[in-house]
Amino acid sequence: MPDDHFSSMRQSIIDGAPDTASSLAQEAVASGIPPIDAINNGFVPGMHDVGEQFARGQMFLPDMMASAEAMRAAMAVLDPELKKLGTERPMAGIVLLGTTKGDIHEIGKILVGTMLTAHGFQVHDLGVDVAGDKFAAKARELKADIVGVSALLTTTMRNQKGVVEALEKDGLRSQVKVMVGGAPVTRRWAEEIGADGYAKDAMSAVALAQELMQQKLQAVSVQQ
């Protein structure tokens, strides 16, 4: 596989071009490139670049959104191919995402989901306006490692606490890490409501999720 092709894949993500990303993914499949190689050597490095440029202030949220769309378009082609081959990307952890009850905004959550997916997490998105008990029920069903709760408004961020409480009520809290984010959310708020972490943006959400998984694994090894 010529490096040029991987480079084009990477660039399609940086450019936020879903049609190009999808075409490149289809070409890769047609020419017999293993889908896992296309993902790991082409598209994921593009998301890494985007994340780094965002962190440096060289890219902005609309750019990130477009890149996330492009990543999704590529994965829509490559995921079924992976399944056909019976191969899977090494999974970093199962993350359940949703926007809190009363809130219908999902920009931040979508970005977080895309970045987590790009970094090997299996992400399940419950959507918007999600009550605490729904988070808990789905977390149990999926055996989720992490629940991520987003809120955009000061009036709805208080419902993040309800998710922590619902997980406690269902006896899941010791097994599930909770991370929170959103425009009005702060680290202090996360601490106040008993969440395990706060991420200020999609890139730091990835770092946080990786750290939380480390904590989980360490806790398991201590128990064993």
């Binding site: 202030g57 902005f60 949220l61 609309p62 009363g102 809130d103 219908i104 905004h105 920009i107 931040g108 955009l152 408004l153 000061t154 009036t155 208080r158 425009a183 009005p184 702060t186 202090r188 708020w189 106040e192 200020k200 943006d201």
Partner: protein
Amino acid sequence: MRPKLELLDKPLIERILDEAFQLIEDPGVRVAPYVEDLLRAAGITVKEGVAHIPEVLARRLLDLVPRGFCLYDRLGKPAVHYSGDTVHFDPGSSCLNILDPEAQQPRPAMSADLVRLVQVAEMLPQFAAQSTAMVCNDIPPEIGDWYRLLLVLWYSEKPVVTGAFSASSLHTLIDLLAIESGGRETLRRNPRAIFDVCPSPPLNWSEFASQNLVDLARAGVPAEIVSMPLAGATAPVTLAGSVVQHAAECISGITIHQLAQPGSPIVWGGAPAIFDMRSGKTPMGAIETAMLDLACSQVGKYLGLPTHAYLVAGDGRFVDAQVEMESGMSAALGALAGINMISGAGMLDFLACHSIEKLVIDAEAIASAQRLIEGIQPHGVSLAVDMFAQTGLQGDFLRLKETRALFRKEQHFPSAIIDRGLPVPDGTSPDILQRARHRVDELVAAYERHPLPLEAERELIAFAQREGKPTGLEGLPGILNPAFA
């Protein structure tokens, strides 16, 4: 001449309204089941939770909104005039955290903090109204809405800007106000409070917001729409586009409200903001946020409606130069725009935190803004010639009787928070934060609570104990009247 600032010309306002009317019809406005029958009865099509409001009907209902009304103080005097270009300020609302006065670090707000803030705001004439400024974290959340209103009513005689976070708590808040006012009819006639009601952007009147609109209209208690388009995130990225959305949310809210009770008072208000494309935050101190506030208000004024906006808030985490630059600038802009009620003073960190020290500094900015809109007025027959006739070229104006008679009208004298080079008693050089702390202490020390009539106080206490008991509320935090201990 009263100085005035307008950002929109008439053709642009007409375009904004034209598009807002288009939006409320198509794609329409999401509404809650609670109001669907009300809307259908008026001939509005409601399909799958979305109301499609025709312009003709919306315009007819806009015409029913009172062009002005007052909020009354505890003594029954009109203290806030929602009409024309009158300008009032109140502290920001519903904050979760306070900047600790000593540590200057954010921490959860408690009822004692709210009491202190109310006492300070009570002493400052710059604030025509109080607000239920903080969520008290030592109070069970299920009674938090009415408890903070209780504290404000207990310690203040000024009108109150408040709000309910749920449909059920609204009725408890109205009950509380009725006790304090001497009955529902008095409350309706001389409303002491106004309730903020927030649509969810874009174009969504949620269950509790829809219900709040209807219930407030029927109770005759004024409502204040706080529409919050976030330009680029939950609203079009352009300022003009976000103003359109704000107008559509206000018009649709007024439609629901006026159908519930024609002629009930309601305010065209909001807390619009831009969405920072780097941080994802909503900077309340950004100049574009202030521009949105001014433009949204101007559209309301064009319709002849009472107006509200969220300004005088800064985004830094501490009481520093950035926060005060942002707050002072927007105080002046809001005043120049003639917005009837400007909320937000005291707040910082993207509305996540209150600071009483900031509140007293903001009061100085507000006083300057209030002086600004008094404008430059002529006094006497001549402007300067008569005074020159007395002094000649010697220029000894300090001796003139006109100087003594007029300097208080011409100049605003700030408190000691503002350094005008006056000597400090102990010879130190306190910075602005130290001066603000000192000012807060002075105001709290000088504050004197004016009790309610004994019967009303007993009734309020009985109400609070009765409603608080099922939640495990112990005592009545923040209310220390030994007569009821």
